[in-house]
């Protein structure tokens, strides 16, 4: 000892580098966290910051904050921060990790967030074995909102919603998240620790570091549940609350390692990288070369167009396809379009209808309440929507005779047995295209080239394209014929 001449002091423990030195909070409080005196969150924050420091991952850490008291993690941690919707942190963390596999993604959640509203997210993230670290701070109550019972509230524990104490018969038993998740195959590391005394705190520090380290090593899903004091809501002083964690909480939530596959786990292969944004159109088959050629840009500019169509029929009659072809052709012609399908859960034989708007102005609403053209593919659809058609508009009806009681003054009618006419073309199923042909002829705004391009995009089978094209042409013809007949009748009437 005689050779020790100078004593010097070096920092052994101090503010972690991963914390900001000033918090961008309300003016006065930039030197203080928002936590109550003695809150467990502060202690867990420090453990996490220390793990991040020690592993040297600060510049690639993304911390996903929850809803709850720890919602403000972004004020304190000098890392990448995201604040997720209530309970959704594991889903957000999944997305972050998958899109940025090199980052260290930590989901920090309380028990109200993770074990109540977020039960589905944590369960499935764990079951997928996402390579993320979850810090689950369990204080057995909803603290931020003022002390309501949580799924983790102990039997007999009083809260504002269990004033007589939690009873298993009415509120169920405390949810043991760590045990529950340890029944899954995928998780690599699950441990429950506590902040009940010095020894427990030291163990918690090691566990949190391991959870982050596992991720850095690429091993997979790690979760550390931390039993944590809430002096304010528990109505105890900080030291009593700390003891309550150790003496009471721990009896319900035993500490220990519930899963540890870190030795045998091999690093998970990184998920295949997401395709680059500009590759996506090609993958979806909507790349530039597949897109229609805009046959009618000029048309949109000089004409005021506002076509509002309602198409209705049975499911399976091709109701939605008429709408799609119409909208797609409108798009090709440079118009603003909307297509809104509305149908029941059945794939066949339910009722189905769609709203289509084609306009030279931006479309304010995709709903077509007062159509200028109604395509009714059967009588029930006609009866349902007939009265909505505007004066001066058209009804195209699939049937031998238009029901007399549906006749309205000022509304034009084209009623033909389209199904039979389609059957004559070779397949009754193209009745929808025959009706569309008639509709296109009424309106006359869409160039034929645009309709052809739309059809080619939507109908992949060449056999059907040929038939559809014949059906469209037949529809146009039928409409013109009907006009000639009407004209002749009117003329005849005039002769009388």
């Amino acid at each position: 000892m005689s050779s020790e001449v100078v004593q010097e002091y070096a920092v052994a423990q101090g503010r972690a580098k991963s914390f900001y030195t000033r918090y961008e909070r309300k003016d006065e409080l930039q030197r203080q966290t928002h936590y109550c005196p003695g809150c467990g969150h502060g202690v867990v924050h420090k453990m996490l910051a220390r793990a991040i420091d020690e592993l040297g991952v600060q510049d690639r850490t993304i911390l996903v904050g929850p809803v709850g008291c720890s919602v403000f993690t972004y004020y304190y941690f000098d890392v990448g921060n995201i604040q997720a919707a209530h309970g959704r942190a594991p889903a957000v963390a999944t997305a972050m990790k998958r899109s940025r596999p090199e980052s260290i993604v930590i989901s920090y959640q309380g028990d109200g967030d993770l074990s109540a509203i977020g039960t589905a997210e944590i369960l499935h993230a764990a079951n997928r074995g996402e390579n993320i670290s979850v810090i689950f701070v369990n204080n057995a109550i909803y603290s931020m909102t003022g002390g309501q019972a949580a799924p983790t509230t102990l039997i007999g524990q009083k809260s504002t919603t269990t004033p007589e104490g939690r009873r298993a018969a009415t509120e169920g038993y405390p949810l043991h998240v760590s045990e529950l998740l340890a029944t899954l195959e995928a998780p690599v590391y699950i441990e429950r620790v506590a902040l009940g005394d010095n020894k427990q705190i030291a163990q918690a520090t090691r566990a949190i570091r391991r959870a982050v380290e596992n991720q850095a090593r690429g091993l997979g899903f790690s979760l550390v549940e931390v039993l944590s004091p809430c002096p304010t809501i528990w109505k105890m002083n900080p030291v009593e609350a700390q003891h309550w964690v150790r003496d009471v909480m721990e009896k319900t939530f035993p500490l220990g390692v519930f899963r540890d596959h870190t030795r045998e786990a091999a690093p998970r292969p990184a998920p295949p990288p997401a395709p680059a944004l500009d590759e996506i159109p090609r993958l979806l088959g909507v790349a530039e070369q597949d897109l229609p050629a805009n046959h009618g840009r000029a048309l949109a500019r000089d004409k005021q167009i506002d076509l509002q169509v309602r198409i209705a029929g049975f499911g399976g009659q091709g109701v939605l396809l008429i709408g799609e072809v119409l909208a797609e052709a409108g798009l090709d012609a440079g118009l603003e379009v909307s297509w809104l399908p509305s149908y029941g859960p059945e794939m066949r034989s339910g009722t189905s209808n769609c709203h289509v708007r084609l306009s030279s102005q931006p479309v304010d609403s995709p709903l077509v309440a007062v159509p200028s053209v109604l395509v009714a593919m059967n009588e029930p659809s006609l009866r349902k929507f007939d009265l909505t058609v505007r004066r001066g508009g058209w009804v195209i009806y699939n049937g031998d005779a238009f029901p007399a009681d549906c006749m309205r003054e000022g509304v034009h009618v084209l009623a033909l047995p389209f199904t039979r006419l389609a059957d004559e073309l070779g397949d009754p199923r193209v009745s929808n295209m025959v009706m569309l042909g008639a509709l296109l002829e009424i309106d006359g705004v869409l160039p034929q080239a645009s309709v052809d391009a739309a059809l080619r995009r939507l109908v992949k089978n060449p056999r059907w394209i040929a038939l559809d094209e014949r059906a469209l042409a037949r529809g146009r013809e039928l409409f013109k014929e009907s006009l000639r007949q009407e004209g002749a009748e009117a003329m005849g009437g005039g002769m009388k």
Partner: protein, 105 residues
């Protein structure tokens, strides 16, 4: 935080504490946790109206337990003595490592 603080040779404590009176909220967890019991609560209130933890001024072993139980990121800073041998071989880093592992056991 500063790299290290030089003290007069007469200071023989193995450790030394600094408590930030602005950050401390006076929860008292460090007072409870401190093995040599060298932390006390102040009589005066700080700027925010809290009594704060204060170091008694002597007797710290530098174990770091107070830091670990403290919920505030930077309220406590623990310093530990680094013994420099006359030959000049600095063991500062080794000692800090040792202090951390000691405190966490």
């Amino acid at each position: 935080m500063a790299e290290g603080n030089k003290f007069e040779a007469k200071k023989q404590d193995r450790g030394w504490l600094q408590i930030d009176g602005d950050e401390c909220k006076g929860c008292g967890l460090c007072i409870e946790a401190c093995p040599p019991k060298v932390i006390a609560m102040s009589e005066e209130l700080n700027h925010y109206g809290y009594r704060t933890a204060i170091y008694a001024g002597a007797g710290c072993t530098g174990c770091g337990v107070c830091f670990m139980v403290c919920p505030e990121p930077g309220a406590i800073t623990v310093f530990r003595a680094v013994v420099q041998r006359a030959e000049g071989s600095s063991r500062a880093n080794a000692r800090v490592e040792e202090a951390i592992s000691c405190a966490s056991n």
